[in-house]
C-alpha cells in the first residue's frame, strides 16, 4: 500500500472542503482522481503533498506520515503541478541540478537520466535558457523532466494533458507506464476522461468534497449499471443525480 488517505477532513480555512475522504493508491498502480471544478481534487492533492494539514484524518505514504518524518515522506513524492511553477532566476540546467540536490541524487547518474528525458521532450538544446520564458506546454515538460528525474515512489500529477502537444502526451504516458513497472504509484487528476479511461487502473470519483465512488472501470459500471459504458457516461450520470 503506497499511499493511504483515511478519513481526511480538510481545506484552506476552517470551513472544510474535503468531508471525510478515504482512498488508497497501491504500488505500481495508476489512480485517476476525477471530479468537477471545485470538487476537491486540487485540495486533495495539496493535502497529499503536505501543503495543507488535515483537520482530521491521516495521510501516510508507505507507513510514514508527514508529521512523523517530513523528510522521509517528501523524499518519496514527485509532484507535477497543473500550472507550471518555476524559479524565475534559474536556467533549465539549474532547475535540474536543483532537483538533484534537493532529492540528494547522484549527479552523474541523474544527468544520464536527465539527458534522455530532455531528448524525449525536445528540450536538450535549451539547457541554458530561463524556462520562465517558455510557452506553457514547454514549461510543463520541464516539470515532467524534473519529476521523472527523481526516484520517487509516488508521482502526483495534476491535470497533465491540457497544454501538452499530442506527442508529449504520448511520451508522458510511456514514462508513467515504465515507472509503474518499477513499482512506483501515480495519483493523477484529470478532466480528459477518455485518456484516463484507457490508462488508469482505478478511479476515485470526487464530488462535493466526498468520494462518490471508487474502483476499476468494470466495478464502476457494475455499481451504476444504467449509467452507460464509458467513464464519461458514468461521470455525467453521477453529476446529474446530484443536480436533480
Amino acid at each position: 500500500m503506497a499511499l493511504e488517505v483515511s478519513h481526511v477532513v480538510g481545506g484552506y480555512s476552517q470551513i472544510p472542503v474535503l468531508k471525510d475522504i478515504s482512498f488508497d493508491v497501491k504500488d505500481g498502480e495508476l489512480v485517476g482522481l476525477i471530479g468537477l471544478n471545485g470538487a476537491g481534487k486540487s485540495t486533495t492533492i495539496n493535502h497529499v503533498i503536505g501543503l495543507l494539514t488535515p483537520h482530521k484524518g491521516k495521510i501516510s505514504l508507505n507507513g510514514v506520515t508527514i508529521d512523523q518524518d517530513s523528510q522521509a515522506y517528501k523524499q518519496q513524492i514527485a509532484y507535477i503541478p497543473e500550472t507550471p511553477v518555476l524559479y524565475q532566476e534559474l536556467t533549465l540546467r539549474e532547475h535540474l541540478e536543483m532537483t538533484m540536490m534537493a532529492y540528494d541524487l547522484d549527479q552523474e547518474k541523474a544527468w544520464v537520466t536527465a539527458h534522455k528525458l530532455l531528448k524525449t521532450f525536445r528540450l536538450d538544446n535549451k539547457l541554458d535558457w530561463f524556462p520562465a520564458n517558455f510557452s506553457k506546454g514547454m514549461k510543463q515538460k520541464v516539470m515532467i523532466v524534473c519529476a521523472f528525474l527523481t526516484q520517487a515512489k509516488l508521482f502526483i500529477i495534476d491535470e497533465p494533458f491540457l497544454g501538452l502537444d499530442p506527442l508529449a502526451v504520448n511520451d508522458l504516458l510511456n514514462l508513467i507506464e515504465a515507472r509503474k513497472k518499477t513499482g512506483a504509484s501515480i495519483l493523477m487528476s484529470t478532466h480528459v476522461l477518455d485518456t484516463a479511461q484507457r490508462y488508469c487502473d482505478r478511479f476515485v470519483l470526487l464530488h462535493d468534497g466526498q468520494v462518490k465512488t471508487e474502483g476499476t472501470l468494470s466495478e464502476l459500471q457494475a455499481a451504476l449499471p444504467e449509467a452507460g459504458e464509458s467513464l464519461n457516461d458514468i461521470y455525467l450520470s453521477m453529476t446529474k443525480v446530484d443536480r436533480a
Binding site: 503533498i49 517528501k74 524559479y87 532566476e89 541540478e97 536543483m98 532537483t99 538533484m100 540536490m101 534537493a102
Partner: protein
C-alpha cells in the same frame, strides 16, 4: 479631455503622496540630512579651493546642465486600456496631451531651477559670472527644457520627421549646442538659440498634429516605463505591488557560484545566490545602499561618525535582506522538496553573512581611504565584524523564526 487628465492627475498625486509619506520616514530623512550635509560641505570645500579661469570649469557646467536638461520626462498618465476606450476620441486627445505637458513642465522646470540655483555659486566662483548672466542662462535652460518637452509631445504622433527629431541623439545635440554657446560665447546667444528652437518646434508641430495618428503603443509603453521607474524607487523603501522586478541572466557573474558545491545541504544556497544575483530587486537594493554608504563615508571625517555611519548602513542592508527569505514561498516546490527547513535557514544565513561581509569590507576600505587613521580603521573594523556576526547569525534566524510563527 482636460477633465480626464485632471481626474487622473488627482488620483496619481494621491497615490504618490501615499508612497512619499512612506519614503520619507524618520530613518530616511535622517540619512538624507546626513547625506545632504556631507555633500554640501564637500561642495563648499571644493568651491573654496577653486581658482577662476580653470579650463575644465565650463565643461563640468556643460555636463551638468545637459544631463539635467534630459531629466523630467513627459508624464502622460496614459493607461493600457486607453487605446481601446479612447481610440474614438483621438482628435480630442490633443487637449489631454497639452494638459499633460503642462504638468510635466512644472515638474521638470523645478528640477532645472534647483540645479541652476546650486550651480550658480560654482559659475560665479569658477567663471566670474555676474548674477545677470547666470539668470539669463537659467532662462535659456528653462526654454530649452520647454522645447525638449515639446518634442516629447510631438513624438506622441506619427509624424515621420518627428520620430527622427525625437531621438535622444537629437535632444542631446540640441541641449549641447544651446548650453555650450551659453558657456563659451555668452548666455544671450544661448537664450536666443533656445527661443528659436522652441518656437520652431512649436510652429511646426502646430501645423502637423491634426493630420497625424497617435502612437498609442509607444506612448503607453513609455508611460509604463516611467511609472515603473517611480515604483521601483518607492520599492526601495516599501512594498509596491506593481513592481515584481526583472531577471537578468548576468552570465559574467556566474563565477560567483563556483564555490557552491552541489550538495544536498546547500540546495537553497544554490537557489538564493542565483536569485540574489540575477533578480534586480534585492541586488539593486544592496548595491545602491552600499554605493550611497561609500559615497557618504568618503566625505565624512571624524573619530566616531564614520564608525556610526558604517554600522548604520550595514544594519540597513541586513534589515532589507530579510524578506528575501520568503521570496520563493510562492513556488510550490519550496514546500515539496525533501529539504529540511534548517538547511534552508542555514543557507540563508550564509548568504546574508556573505553579502554583509562584502558590503562591510567595501565600507571599511572607504573609511580607511578617507580618514587614514589607524584608530578609526581599527574601531570600524571591529564594530563591523561584531555587527555582521550579530545581524547574520543571531538576529536574522530569530526574526525569521518569529515571522514563521506569526504566519502559522
Amino acid at each position: 479631455m482636460r477633465e480626464l487628465f485632471k481626474n487622473r492627475l488627482q488620483r496619481h498625486l494621491r497615490e504618490m503622496a501615499k508612497y512619499l509619506r512612506l519614503v520619507f520616514n524618520d530613518f530616511f530623512v535622517f540619512a538624507l540630512l546626513f547625506f545632504m550635509g556631507g555633500l554640501g560641505l564637500g561642495y563648499s570645500n571644493i568651491l573654496k579651493s577653486l581658482k577662476p579661469g580653470l579650463w575644465w570649469a565650463p565643461v563640468v557646467a556643460l555636463l551638468v546642465l545637459v544631463i539635467v536638461a534630459q531629466i523630467g520626462r513627459f508624464a502622460t498618465l496614459i493607461e493600457d486600456a486607453d487605446r481601446v476606450f479612447l481610440l474614438p476620441k483621438e482628435r480630442a486627445m490633443h487637449d489631454y496631451f497639452v494638459a499633460a505637458r503642462r504638468y510635466s513642465q512644472f515638474l521638470a522646470q523645478c528640477t532645472q531651477v534647483i540645479t541652476l540655483f546650486i550651480l550658480a555659486s560654482f559659475l560665479s566662483v569658477a567663471l566670474h559670472w555676474t548674477v545677470a548672466k547666470i539668470l539669463i542662462l537659467a532662462v535659456a535652460q528653462i526654454v530649452l527644457k520647454d522645447s525638449l518637452l515639446r518634442l516629447d509631445l510631438a513624438s506622441a504622433y506619427q509624424v515621420t520627421g518627428q520620430r527622427r527629431m525625437n531621438q535622444w541623439g537629437f535632444k542631446w545635440l540640441l541641449a549641447i549646442i544651446v548650453i555650450a554657446s551659453g558657456l563659451w560665447v555668452t548666455p544671450y546667444v544661448a537664450l536666443v538659440l533656445a527661443l528659436v528652437a522652441d518656437g520652431a518646434v512649436a510652429v511646426w508641430f502646430q501645423q502637423h498634429w491634426q493630420k497625424q495618428q497617435i502612437r498609442w503603443r509607444e506612448q503607453i509603453k513609455l508611460e509604463d516605463n516611467r511609472m515603473l521607474g517611480i515604483y521601483r524607487f518607492f520599492n526601495l523603501f516599501t512594498e509596491v505591488p506593481m513592481v515584481s522586478g526583472t531577471i537578468k541572466r548576468r552570465r559574467y557573474l556566474d563565477w560567483l557560484f563556483t564555490g557552491i558545491k552541489p550538495k544536498h545541504s546547500q540546495t537553497y544556497l544554490y537557489l538564493f545566490s542565483r536569485g540574489m544575483v540575477r533578480g534586480t530587486d534585492f541586488s539593486g537594493l544592496v548595491v545602491r545602499l552600499t554605493v550611497i554608504g561609500m559615497l557618504l563615508l568618503y566625505f565624512v571625517r571624524g573619530q566616531w561618525l564614520p564608525v556610526f555611519l558604517a554600522a548604520l548602513f550595514i544594519y540597513l542592508i541586513g534589515f532589507q535582506l530579510l524578506p528575501f527569505f520568503q521570496q520563493y514561498d510562492d513556488v510550490v516546490f519550496t514546500h515539496v522538496y525533501p529539504v529540511l527547513p534548517e538547511f534552508r535557514l542555514k543557507s540563508f544565513v550564509k548568504l546574508v553573512t556573505l553579502i554583509l561581509s562584502t558590503a562591510a569590507l567595501l565600507l571599511w576600505v572607504v573609511v580607511v581611504i578617507a580618514n587614514r587613521q589607524l584608530e578609526t580603521a581599527g574601531i570600524t573594523l571591529l564594530v563591523e565584524a561584531v555587527e555582521v556576526w550579530y545581524l547574520a547569525r543571531i538576529y536574522t534566524p530569530q526574526r525569521l523564526a518569529r515571522a514563521d510563527k506569526n504566519k502559522a
